[in-house]
C-alpha cells in the first residue's frame, strides 16, 4: 500500500519541493496552499510525471476554521494518513518598534496555532494505525535569533517546544514528531534580499552558498520516512553549517 502524506504550503518553495520529493518516492500526496491555480498546476504535473494520486485543498491557515476541513478532505482523499509535512509559512521582518499587533497574531496563528491544530487532527488519524510521522519547518533563527526577526523567531522557537513535547506525548503511540531548521534557502521568503546580502549570507555558511528548496525537502522526506524510524523530537539543521 502506498504511503500517504499531507503537505501544507505546497504552492511554492520548500513545500513545493516536498511535493516533488514525496511523489518521486511513490507516496500519495495531498497538497495544500493558498493559491489554487498554482496547486492545480502542481497537481497536474505530479500526476503526469509520477503517475500518482494527488488531491489539493486551498485555504489560508491563519484562519483556524479551515484546518479541520483540510484534514477531513485529506482523509477522504487518501483514506488515512502516514505523514504530515507542515511547510506553510511567511516571514515578517521588522524591527521591534515596527511590529504591528495584527502581524503578531498572523505569525503566531500561522506558525504555532496551525501546527498545534494540525497535530491534534493528524495524530487522531495516525493513532488508528498506531504509526505516523510529522515534520514541521522551523528556522535557524529560532535558536540563533536575528535582527528584525524577533516575531518570526519567537513563533519558530515555540514550535521547537511543541515538537519536543509532542514527541514525548505521541511517541508511545508510534507517532514521531520532528522538525527541520533551514538556514538561508532560495525561496520567496528571501526573494527581496539584495545581491550583497545574499553574498554575505553565503559567506556565513561553511559551504559558502545558499541552499535550495529540494535540499530541505530531502531532509524532510528522510524524517517522514521509515529510514528515520528511530528519530523523534529532533530539530535537524539544514543550513550548510551556519550554526556550527
Amino acid at each position: 500500500m502506498k504511503k500517504r502524506v499531507v503537505i501544507t504550503g505546497a504552492s511554492s518553495g520548500i513545500g513545493k519541493a516536498c511535493a516533488y520529493w514525496f511523489a518521486s518516492q511513490g507516496w500519495q500526496v495531498f497538497i495544500h496552499g493558498r493559491d489554487e491555480a498554482k496547486l492545480q498546476a502542481l497537481s497536474t504535473d505530479l500526476q503526469k510525471k509520477y503517475a500518482i494520486e494527488c488531491s489539493l485543498f486551498s485555504a489560508d491557515l491563519t484562519d483556524s476554521s479551515t484546518i479541520k476541513p483540510l484534514i477531513q478532505q485529506a482523509n477522504k482523499s487518501l483514506g488515512g494518513l502516514d505523514a504530515l509535512v507542515h511547510c506553510a509559512g511567511s516571514m515578517v521582518q521588522n524591527s521591534l518598534a515596527m511590529i504591528k499587533e495584527q502581524e503578531i497574531d498572523q505569525q503566531f496563528n500561522l506558525h504555532l496555532k496551525s501546527s498545534l491544530l494540525l497535530a491534534q487532527l493528524c495524530s487522531r488519524l495516525m493513532l488508528r494505525n498506531k504509526k505516523g510521522a510529522m515534520v514541521f519547518v522551523s528556522s535557524t533563527v529560532a535558536n540563533q535569533g536575528a535582527v528584525g526577526q524577533a516575531l518570526y523567531s519567537a513563533a519558530k522557537s515555540g514550535l521547537h517546544g511543541m515538537v519536543k513535547s509532542l514527541a514525548k506525548e505521541l511517541g508511545p503511540h508510534g507517532i514521531r514528531i520532528n522538525a527541520v531548521a533551514p538556514g538561508f534557502i532560495e525561496t520567496s521568503l528571501v526573494s527581496d534580499y539584495s545581491t550583497d546580502k545574499r553574498l554575505q549570507l553565503a559567506q556565513a555558511t561553511s559551504l559558502k552558498r545558499l541552499g535550495k528548496a529540494d535540499e530541505v525537502a530531502s531532509a524532510i522526506g528522510f524524517l517522514a520516512s521509515e529510514q528515520a524510524s528511530y528519530i523523534t523530537g529532533q530539530i535537524l539543521p539544514v543550513d550548510a553549517g551556519l550554526t556550527i
Binding site: 479541520k68 495524530s123 487522531r124 488519524l125 508511545p172
Partner: protein, 79 residues
C-alpha cells in the same frame, strides 16, 4: 447498530470487557480510561463512525452516555 459500534470502539480503545461498558462508565473513574485512553478512544470513535469530532466535544465526552449524546450532534442515532 450504532450502539454496537460505539461499544466496540470502547472495547478496542480502552481494552475493557463488554460487561464493564454501561452508561455509568466515566472518564478517569475507570483505570483504563485515562487521558491516554481518551485519545485512543477518540481515534477509534472517529474511525468507527467516519467523523472528525470538534475539540469541545472531545473534551466533553466524559462518559459512555455522554458519548451517545455528543454523537447525536453528528447525526448518529442510538434509538
Amino acid at each position: 447498530m450504532s450502539i454496537k459500534l460505539l461499544k466496540n470502539a470502547f472495547i478496542t480503545a480502552l481494552e475493557i470487557p463488554e460487561n464493564e461498558i454501561n452508561d455509568q462508565l466515566c472518564y478517569s473513574q475507570h483505570q483504563q480510561w485515562d487521558s491516554t485512553g481518551h485519545m485512543i478512544l477518540i481515534a477509534e470513535i472517529e474511525n468507527a463512525f467516519d467523523i472528525m469530532l470538534d475539540t469541545d466535544d472531545i473534551i466533553d465526552m466524559s462518559s459512555f452516555l455522554k458519548a451517545q449524546e455528543i454523537l447525536g450532534k453528528y447525526e448518529i442515532s442510538f434509538n
